[in-house]
Symmetry: C2
Subunit: 130 residues, 2 copies
Amino acid sequence: MGNIPSIKPTESELEILQILWQLGKATVRQVNNELSKMKEVGYTTTLKLLQIMHEKHIVSRTEEGRYHLYQAEIGEEQTQQLLLGKFVDATFRGSAMKLVMQALGNQEVSLDELDEIKKLIAEKEKNLNL
Amino acid sequence: MGNIPSIKPTESELEILQILWQLGKATVRQVNNELSKMKEVGYTTTLKLLQIMHEKHIVSRTEEGRYHLYQAEIGEEQTQQLLLGKFVDATFRGSAMKLVMQALGNQEVSLDELDEIKKLIAEKEKNLNL
DNA sequence: TTTTATTTACGAATGATTTCGTAGCAAATA
DNA sequence: TATTTGCTACGAAATCATTCGTAAATAAAA
């Protein structure tokens, strides 16, 4: 889990990563079950994707008797950071500010969450003032 | 420019949309010139993309003498909203909050911008308290 | 007028991603 | 033991996005 991810996972890969981040280690079967809650997907499709991800070192795996246990090799926050950067560039021409404004303006955010954000902003302001 | 965009523009299409949003109306040549500032790209590649986007009704075009003037048919904010929603779901499992925290935490945001965000938060809080 | 340049249209190659069928093994079950 | 079930490996088809070459038409330049 050390490497900074420079490779961008594809959409399907990201779906699988989400599952692995939640489950920790998981068999193909488990991943496929989770995936099936969201969409129709054949078992060997999931298997193949995990194999490809393994080749790319996005996931590691250990043999546990007859099956393989897969585990994310790239961190969740790290990956979110990478994807966020690219997304901001592509969609908001690099302006994180505009993205935040739109997210706050139109997505669901609760009062408590707004408080948390205020705290973070206070922190940031402190640092910027140094 | 009325329709809510339900189709997700591809990455290349988004690059072109960014240009059209800035230029308003533009010829293939103009779009290609802008694109060329960012990367190597053949003229007919740009042309083809615009034609495809036209088929998909992402852009409209008017004949102006010998050439065509292209124009975005989907709005910038509208599209950002759509993409943002999908991105939050795919990358932050639907939590706009987490996205905002990461964006504020790690992307470049200035003091003035933080102020603006504070104002927006104040607004939101007012509305939520009603 | 003839040549050159610029434009659109279009088909097709390339490349990446996703999906799935089949085969080969090993374990569980009848 | 024989059969069925469940697993991995792998190739290849299907889909989608991107890139570009060529042709035809028209305008501009020589």
